[in-house]
Each structure stands twice: as structure tokens, then as C-alpha cells.
């Protein structure tokens, strides 16, 4: 065969290949567009029915609509899409009623099964739906995904447990983080903290237990969240963490929490910390906590801290004296007269609070 003939055959084959590929692409595009149009049409039909049912579900006449929504099985997942969009916007009985419809349609069971899918995208969708619906039967399934090999799925599981709430969800989160599995597939602390805060005081018992966790991150999260949630019975545990924990981040979290809780019984431990602690951030947090507790017996310790070698501690201690009122301001003015030993911090804090640095009374009678 001549070279020309070979070239002609190659060119023809190339052309045929290009035409074939173009046709396939066009067919796929057309099919995708047809499917999207059908999905939009379905949504357009379904949305008013759903809205009408939400507006009238208390009436006896709405039963037919409910039956229709429960029995509706479109070719796509329009119904679930619609409900998943509505759930985060509603609360109360209307929300419970939507979840009930999902349950009766079998969607919740399907989602629970979906958490075991081999496809990450399906596991993700399934756990998101369980979280949006806030169903407690989904807790074990969501908890199982905390150790998922896919990071997005793990984060979705954390969010879902936060939305579902209850003591079991909080316990699952904290226990997983402290386990070997949790070490293998780590989860960043911020989403866990947000989920625990969302769960709220239901998380109190697991959080108090987590003060003794093996992982530093877990103990740190527990201290911070207990403080933000204002769990007063945790004060003794937090004081112990502040005094004894080998990790500075845990001691810092506990000190922040004790400051938020502002219990006078913490003053002794906090002043003791000022004498023994070496971490600058923890020392500054201890000063801030004493400034919230406002126990006059702690003023000498704060005065001493104003002369600390590190400027962060000096300023924090000086700021902590301001809430003590006239007594604290008098001490700050005295310190401000000095050239060294915290004079700079005292002057800075007085200036920041627009307070005169001399000892002339602010109001003369």
C-alpha cells in the first residue's frame, strides 16, 4: 500500500473519530439538559403542593396532600431537595411535620443506609440529610462517619451531630476525638467546638468527663466550651486543669473558662497561678480572669503582675485593675509614676481608658 493511501486512511479514521466524539458529547449534553428541565418542571409542580401543605397541615382537609407527598416518587430527588432546603429555615411543629413526612417516605432509613455507601458523595449527602432532619436515630450512623477516610464526610458528620444534639451526640464526638481512630483521621478543633456549642448544656456531662481525656485537643475544647456554656458545676474540674495540666493550651482554656464563670472561689487558684505559671498567655488570661472576679484581696497580686518582665502580662494585669474602680485606679496611678516595674503598662492602660495619670481627684467638690 502506498504512503498516500495510508495517510488517506489515517485521516479518514481521525475524522470519523472526531465526528463520533462530537456526536457523543452533543448527545450527553442534550440528555443532561433534558434531565435538568424535567427536574425543574418537577420542582415547579411540587413546590406549590408542599407550600400549600405547610400552610394548611393543621386542617383535616390537608390529609390528601400529605398522602400525595408521602407517596410521591419522582424520577429525580426533587422532594428531598425541596425539604432539605426548607428544614434549616423552619422550627417548631412545622419542622417536625416535615421530618415526619421524610420518615414516612422512608427517606430517613435510606439516608441511614446511605452513610454506609462506598461512594463518598453519597455518604456526605446522607449524613447531611440526617443532620438537617435532626433525627436522633441518625446519631450512630453519623458517629460512624467521624472516622471516615474522606475529610469532607468527617466534617459533615461533625456538623450533623451538632445539629442533631442530645447528650449521645456530644459523647460520640468527644469519645471519637479521644480514640485511636480519631488520631488516625483527625478533625480540626473549630468545627467540633461549634458543634458542641450548638448542642449546648446537653453536652455538660460528656464535656466534664472530657476534662480528663488523653488528647490535649479534647481537654482544651472541653475547657473552652464549658466556660462559654457557663457550666458552674464544672468549676472544680476546671480549677484542677488550670493547676495541674501539663499542657499550656489546656491551662489557658481552663483559665479563660474560669474568667467567664467569674466564681469568687477561683480567686485563690488564680493568684497562686500568678506566682507559679511560666506561660505568658496563661498568665495574661489569669490576670483577665481576676479582673472579672473583682476580689479586693487579689489587688496586691495584680500589682505585682504589673511589674512582670513580659509586656503582655504587664498590660493584662494593669487592665485587670480598672474594674476595681477607685482603688484599682489609685494603684494604677501610683504605678504610673514609676519609670520601671510596670509604669509603662499602667500609663498605657490609663491613657486607653482616658483616665488622668496624676492623683488629682477626677471630680472636685
Amino acid at each position: 500500500m502506498s504512503t498516500g493511501a495510508i495517510l488517506l486512511i489515517a485521516a479518514t479514521l481521525n475524522l470519523a473519530l472526531i465526528i463520533g466524539l462530537s456526536l457523543t458529547t452533543a448527545l450527553l449534553k442534550a440528555r443532561r439538559e433534558r434531565r435538568a428541565r424535567r427536574h425543574e418542571q418537577e420542582l415547579a409542580l411540587l413546590r406549590p403542593v408542599m407550600m400549600r401543605y405547610l400552610a394548611t397541615w393543621e386542617d383535616g382537609d390537608a390529609h390528601d396532600l400529605a398522602d400525595m407527598l408521602i407517596g410521591y416518587h419522582g424520577v429525580t430527588t426533587s422532594f428531598e431537595e425541596l425539604v432539605a432546603g426548607l428544614l434549616p429555615k423552619l422550627r417548631g411543629a412545622d419542622r417536625s411535620m416535615l421530618v415526619d413526612i421524610l420518615r414516612r417516605r422512608g427517606t430517613i432509613d435510606q439516608a441511614r443506609q446511605g452513610t454506609g455507601s462506598r461512594w463518598a458523595v453519597r455518604r456526605y449527602r446522607a449524613v447531611e440529610l440526617l443532620g438537617a432532619a435532626g433525627v436522633s436515630e441518625g446519631i450512630p450512623d453519623a458517629a460512624a462517619l467521624l472516622g471516615d477516610r474522606n475529610t469532607d464526610v468527617r466534617l459533615a458528620a461533625v456538623r450533623a451531630l451538632g445539629r442533631i444534639g442530645t447528650v449521645e451526640a456530644a459523647a460520640a464526638l468527644l469519645e471519637h476525638l479521644d480514640s485511636d481512630e480519631g488520631r488516625k483521621h483527625p478533625i480540626p478543633p473549630h468545627p467540633v467546638t461549634m458543634a458542641l456549642l450548638r448542642i449546648g448544656t446537653d453536652a455538660t456531662d460528656p464535656l466534664t468527663r472530657a476534662l480528663e481525656a488523653g488528647q490535649v485537643e479534647v481537654r482544651t475544647i472541653a475547657t473552652e466550651v464549658l466556660g462559654v456554656l457557663g457550666v458552674y458545676p464544672a468549676v472544680a474540674g476546671l480549677q484542677a486543669r488550670m493547676r495541674l495540666d501539663p499542657s499550656a493550651s489546656v491551662r489557658l482554656g481552663a483559665t479563660h473558662a474560669l474568667g467567664r464563670l467569674s466564681m469568687p472561689s477561683s480567686a485563690g487558684d488564680l493568684t497562686a497561678m500568678l506566682r507559679t505559671e511560666e506561660d505568658v498567655e496563661v498568665l495574661a488570661a489569669a490576670c483577665a480572669a481576676l479582673g472579672r472576679i473583682i476580689d479586693p484581696s487579689t489587688i496586691p497580686d495584680l500589682e505585682h503582675a504589673v511589674a512582670h518582665p513580659h509586656p503582655t502580662v504587664r498590660v493584662a494585669a494593669a487592665m485587670a485593675l480598672v474594674p476595681f474602680g477607685a482603688t484599682g485606679l489609685d494603684r494604677l496611678r501610683e504605678i504610673a509614676q514609676r519609670d520601671a516595674e510596670g509604669g509603662d503598662a499602667a500609663r498605657e492602660v490609663l491613657a486607653r481608658n482616658s483616665i488622668a495619670t496624676d492623683t488629682t481627684p477626677l471630680i472636685s467638690l
Binding site: 407550600m51 405547610l54 400552610a55 426548607l86 429555615k89 423552619l90 422550627r91 417548631g92
Partner: protein, 124 residues
């Protein structure tokens, strides 16, 4: 029958409120942004306005302030329906002239009752 203007950029919430408030016997006009909402309020002069806060083109707060500037609109009760849930947000909503404040996620039933209460204490 009372007339109500709902201004919210979320189509689900607009649709839901249209159905819910119509089922309660009210005449509802729904708009998707602040500017269109203000125009609808001027046009309809409703008995109650339900306003979202964060909307395109004009925020709910701006719409409310505009209403309070106009003596003929100043008395129309405004209910804020918004995801802004901080104490300072609620304060700002009332300071702008809002008469009631409902935080999202919300209960449509409770919202309907709040609207009825607003209508009951507004002289017409």
C-alpha cells in the same frame, strides 16, 4: 381581610408566607429585594410589612427607615423576619422603627400569630 407585603430574597420563605398568610385570609404581595419591596409598599399601602434584613439592593433596615421618614407610611407596622440574632441586631431593628422581630429559623404558625397581634393593636 388585611393586606400584607412580604419582602424576602429567599423564594422558599416568600412562597411559604404567601400560602400561609393567604390561607389565614390576608391579601399578600411578595417581593424579592428591598427596592422592589419599598415600591410595593408605596403602591399597596399595606396593613403590615414583613421585612427580611439582608437583601440585595436595599436592606430591610433601610426600607424601614425610608418608611418612617414618610408621614403617610410612618404608622405601618413592620415585622422583621431575619437570621440576625444578636441582641444588638434586635435593638437595631427596633431602633430603625420595627414593631416586632422574629428570628430565623422560624415557626410560620408563630409568625402568623405575631402578625395577627400587630394587626389587632394597630388602629385602622
Amino acid at each position: 381581610m388585611s393586606s400584607i407585603v412580604v419582602v424576602d430574597d429567599d423564594s422558599d420563605i416568600r412562597g411559604l408566607l404567601e400560602f400561609k398568610l393567604s390561607a389565614a385570609g390576608h391579601q399578600v404581595t411578595a417581593e424579592a429585594d428591598g427596592e422592589a419591596g419599598l415600591a410595593a409598599i408605596m403602591d399597596v399601602r399595606p396593613d403590615v410589612v414583613v421585612l427580611d434584613w439582608m437583601m440585595p439592593r436595599m436592606s430591610g433596615i433601610e426600607v424601614c427607615l425610608e418608611l418612617r421618614k414618610d408621614p403617610s407610611m410612618a404608622d405601618i407596622p413592620v415585622l422583621f423576619l431575619t437570621a440576625k440574632a444578636q441582641e444588638s441586631d434586635v435593638q437595631r431593628g427596633f431602633a430603625a422603627g420595627g414593631n416586632d422581630y422574629v428570628i430565623k429559623p422560624f415557626s410560620p404558625r408563630e409568625l402568623s400569630s405575631r402578625i395577627d397581634a400587630l394587626l389587632a393593636r394597630t388602629p385602622r
